[in-house]
């Protein structure tokens, strides 16, 4: 098991119980997703797995051993691209290597080799402000990939993009994942995105977040966007949507 979290809870200082005992497992090279209603603690869970905040309780194991301090060992891409406007696209992408002490020339070479695959050719020396939304997200992803961690946590990476760009980016991301062979945990509120990308999908309940359903996605790879139109895909999507709909209705009823 590459990354295993069990019984993760998080109660914030203000008494808000964000996570009520979450357990997830990622095998080496797997692509898994977490879907859930907004405010279910998905982002909190990722921040815990990235080592940015401490869980109130629970165990996390990395490569089969108790993880200890996780900060700096797991790749993390927050919702916002967080590109630094004082750096060029390439300088943003290489920041992880720079922080790890990799010589500048070597870091640049490593980034330049990946630039075409990330659709950033010709924009290496541009400021982030001159990139389109999709390019900004790909630059942020390149930054995450270049840092060289085995496990990547992606927090709604395409949430800010328009529908068409988002679709194209999903297919592209699968290609990138295929060539780099990373273990990826993606957070999204988009059920279709989760089914299309994942080997397994965890469905979280509303606050305090728990895993209320787990769905294996047996669709063959490589996958292309046409897959989303098949009956098999629709069936899987429905199976994910059912618990989420219940949840949404309950939330409305309670309000």
């Amino acid at each position: 098991m590459k990354l295993a979290a069990s019984g993760i809870t998080k109660r914030f200082a203000d008494g808000v119980e964000a996570l009520g005992g979450v357990s997830i497992e990622l095998r080496e090279g797997e692509f898994c997703s977490i879907v859930g209603p907004s405010g279910c603690g998905k982002s909190t869970l990722l921040a815990i797995l990235a080592g940015l905040i401490e869980p109130s309780a629970g165990r996390i194991a990395l490569d089969g051993e108790p993880a200890g301090r996780l900060l700096g060992r797991i790749g993390y891409m927050p919702q916002r691209d967080l590109l630094m406007q004082w750096r060029t696209t390439l300088e943003n992408a290489t920041v992880g290597l720079e922080l790890a002490g990799v010589p500048r020339a070597k870091a640049r070479a490593a980034a330049l080799a990946e630039v075409p695959g990330f659709g950033l050719a010709g924009f290496e020396e541009h400021r982030p402000s001159s990139l389109s939304g999709g390019m900004r997200q790909r630059a942020a992803l390149l930054r995450t990939f270049l840092a060289g961690r085995d496990v990547l946590l992606l927090d709604e990476p395409f949430g800010s993009l328009d529908a068409l760009t988002r679709e194209a980016m999903r297919e592209w991301l699968l290609g990138i994942w295929d060539t780099h062979r990373k273990t990826i945990l993606l957070v999204t509120h988009d059920v279709e995105e989760a089914v299309f990308l994942s080997d397994r999908v965890y469905v979280m309940s509303g606050r305090p977040g728990r895993v209320q359903a787990t769905l294996e996605v047996p669709l063959a790879r490589p996958r292309s966007l046409e897959l989303t139109a098949t009956a098999e895909f629709a069936q899987l999507r429905e199976r994910l949507l059912a618990p989420l709909r219940e949840e949404a209705r309950a939330a409305l009823g309670a309000a």
Binding site: G75, M84, L99, G119, R138, A147, L164, T165, W172
Partner: protein, 275 residues
Amino acid sequence: MNATRLALALGGRLEPRPRAAATPRAIALRVAPPLCFGVAVVALWQLYVAVSGVRESIFPSPLEVARALGRDSGVLVSAGWTTLSEILLGYAVAIVVGVALAVAVSSSRLIERALYPWLVVSQMIPIPAIAPVVVLWTGFDIRPRLIVIALVSFFPIAVNTIDGLRATDAELVGLLRTLGAGRRQLFRVARLPTALPYLFSGLRVAAALAVIGAVFAEWVGASSGLGYLILSYSSQTETADVFAAIAVLAVIGVALFALVGIAERLLIPWWQLED
């Protein structure tokens, strides 16, 4: 439309955003309004003096000020030079002290609590009143002048830089920590670049204050410079000459202000206030 979007999403090219070019027309549009306004004010001033017949020693006309400028040009240039060098040295001290204080204050909560109120208190000191005391401490050389100039102008630098160092995006800090950044690296990679635009707006305010500070300083601790000259002309009711000295002072102030603007454009080209 869809094809364009898809192409863009998959690595298509976007034309880079054009930068505002410094065409003659753009420069004219920048320079003309303040110039016209200035000319209008001078014309009205001249008209008022001519019509009202006010005495020159009370309110000299622009023409009389211009005559004084010509008459005193030698004295004004050498006094201006003295004052300019004081301003530059005092301003440099203010920058070093202001930035150092800002870094110290933003480095720990404890230092912030201990120092910040006293930074504010330092601005409650009536500088012209304390300037003679400073002269008593240091002697009658350039030092009291530098101290007064720095005391007047360090504050906006310090306060703005503190705000800038605090303004760092917390999520960016989190991201960089997951990439392995330590305290020093966070400062260099994120906090300092975030603070630079704030620092520069502090520098611009401080540039103007440094000029005023130099005049205060020369009123008590100098036998040369524009401030000293203003005082001595004033005591002889040579009002046109006072105005001439003020005009030179204004030129120094505007030049310093513009210089900071140029430095800002060169050092942080990614920060665009206009456009």
